[in-house]
Amino acid sequence: MLDPLVRDALLFGNLLSMMSLGLTLTYITSKVPNFAHGMLVSLGAYVPLMFAEVFGLDPYLSIPVAFLLGGFGSLLVYVLAMRPISRGGGSIVHLMMATLAAEAVFNGVINAFADFLQENFRVFSRAFTLRDLDFTFLDLPGVFIVSYVLCAVLFVALFILLTKTRFGVAMRATVENPSLAGVLGVDTNLVYAVSWFISGGLAGVSGCLIPFWVQTSPSTGSNYLLSIFCASVVGGLGSLAGAIAGGLALGISEIAVTNYLAGVVGYWIIPYRPVIPLLVMAVTLLLVPEGITGLLSGQVRRKA
């Protein structure tokens, strides 16, 4: 039997590692921090609600759909905004601006959809939870188990894609040197599109699990944006393994630290939780700007 606090911390660590893996994936390919990433998480969170309340299906069946929906949302951002802007010679600030614009569009779409569900299907679409539809296994909530299974499956699949397939090699080559990869016949546009798709898919899947754990609203995903950025920065923003490690570390410590402080100084501290990722990010950038991966590779270099 696990302490609920430990369980929450581990679960949030899993979710955050999926989210920050997605953010880092688009960052290393397109060099843009995707400000719309949080909204893709929210997008995923509405899929299980639809499945449960509108179609009357088991909400866990919606996981593949959430992956596809998040992926297509992200792909649209790439195809309709990122690619034309960078072709027109837009700078990185323009691209960041465009992701912020995409966030505004998603915000409108998701909120409109939430209103639509509320009006037409009498579904509580804001601050909703699916916790009572969850199963339990060995006294553990299902979402806890599912998050581990999903993390394992997705991370292994991504690892195999990147290391064992020709396309994965092409992807890594594009990350290293896009123009050289292009000269050697790699379709870099396809690589970018696929990485945006996978990134959005990861966001969608992690969003899909949130309603089983906490109350979810259209703004939930963008409220996690701080934690996602921080996890990626802690991971070094350059490595996928670092993103997973950063997500786990920050997710666990965010919940642990908040709860510890709540016990010490009082419960009023809990709403200030978003301050933790900001502080962690500031400290990381000041002391170890290369993040966990930089730290580890630095040690390797020192030993050699």
Partner: protein
């Protein structure tokens, strides 16, 4: 007052408030090249100061004691306004220190933001400043002693004496402030300082090799522009007679200013003016008519607005990333041997 006049004065107020904010963005990003994705932080700083300070200061000035400022906020403000409505000098005595302190708070926040801004690349800086902006909202929303938490606070009205003419006068006052800021930013743009900032923006290494202290210039740019942004927040708080932390969100105070300056042209004071005028007019006009669209939609019409604004931004970025008024080669008037922009032989941009 006729409806048209009310609409016009409303528009003037919104235009002026955003003009001030957008000019600060022009100063730091257009000239200085610092992409500030946390504008909301500085606006909120100015507004929070007015929310937290002006009312308490006014109570002290008129001698209202024995009330908890936050819990009996509307009562305290009501009594203050009753006193303020008869005394112009008292109004100024509340207004001017609040504005000055708000500017100071903005400058301090800008100084804090300059630590990451000197050290980080655009992408890391964007993430850091955006996060700082979010934290400003979290603190405002959860620390009730500052601006009343999620309920917000009212602010004493320095124009309480104006009665029916309160909003028109407020619009004109804010317009005067915005004209002053416009003149300042325009002067900076055409001055040696402006050229230094542009040089740093276009090529940091070259500027450094010419003896310019890059990090010092960046720090000072952020301090000044953040102080201007805080002035905008303070004026907005006085104009709306209240501060609610959730109003200071990323969409209104970071995204809209960016959209407006990108539309007009981020590196020219004329461009910022044009972009602000067009955007605020369109937003106000759309606000007039959007309610009539509501019966045809199965959801709240405000979400359409969010979608359209986001899409507009993307179209602007694709079609005209340099804005309506692209940056022209700068020629300082009166400079010996200055040539008109058309036949400037040396290239100003690499």
């Amino acid at each position: 007052m006729p409806d048209l006049l009310i609409f016009l004065f409303d528009l003037i107020a919104m235009f002026s408030i955003y003009l001030i904010l957008n000019l600060s963005l022009c100063l730091e990003f257009g000239y200085g090249g610092i992409p500030d994705f946390g504008k909301v932080l500085f606006v909120a700083g100015g507004a929070y100061l007015v929310g937290g300070f002006a009312g308490r200061f006014a109570s002290w000035m008129v001698g209202i004691t024995g009330y908890d400022y936050i819990r009996s906020n509307s009562l305290v403000i009501f009594m203050e306004n009753a006193r303020l409505s008869g005394d112009l000098w008292l109004c100024l005595a509340v207004f001017i220190p609040s504005i000055l302190l708000a500017i100071l708070v903005g400058a301090i926040l800008g100084y804090l933001a300059s630590f990451p801004a000197i050290r980080l690349r655009e992408d890391y800086l964007g993430m850091t400043l955006l996060s700082m902006g979010e934290v400003a909202r979290v603190i405002g929303n959860n620390y009730p002693d500052l601006v009343g938490g999620s309920l917000g606070v009212q602010v004493p009205d320095p124009l309480a004496w104006a009665g029916e003419w309160r909003f028109p006068i407020a619009s004109v006052v804010i317009l005067l402030f915005s004209i002053a800021v416009w003149l300042y930013v325009d002067r900076v743009g055409h001055s040696p300082l402006g050229r230094t900032l542009r040089a740093i923006r276009d090529n940091e290494t070259t500027a450094e090799s010419l003896g310019k202290n890059v990090s010092d210039y960046r720090m000072k740019t952020l301090v000044v522009s953040s102080a201007i942004a805080a002035l905008c927040g303070a004026l907005y708080a006085f104009y709306t007679c209240g501060v609610v932390a959730t109003t200071y969100n990323r969409l209104w105070w970071t995204f809209w200013p960016w959209l407006m300056v990108m539309l007009g042209g981020v590196s020219s004071s004329m461009g910022v003016l044009a972009g602000t005028l067009i955007s605020t007019s369109v937003i106000k006009l759309v606000n007039l008519f959007k309610e009539s669209l509501q019966p045809f939609l199965p959801f709240d019409v405000v979400w359409v607005e969010s979608m359209i604004i986001g899409a507009t931004m993307i179209i602007v970025l694709i079609r005209r990333p340099e804005g309506i008024f692209p940056e022209e080669p700068q020629v300082t008037s009166g400079m010996i041997g200055a040539k008109p922009p058309g036949d400037a032989s040396g290239d100003t941009k690499s």
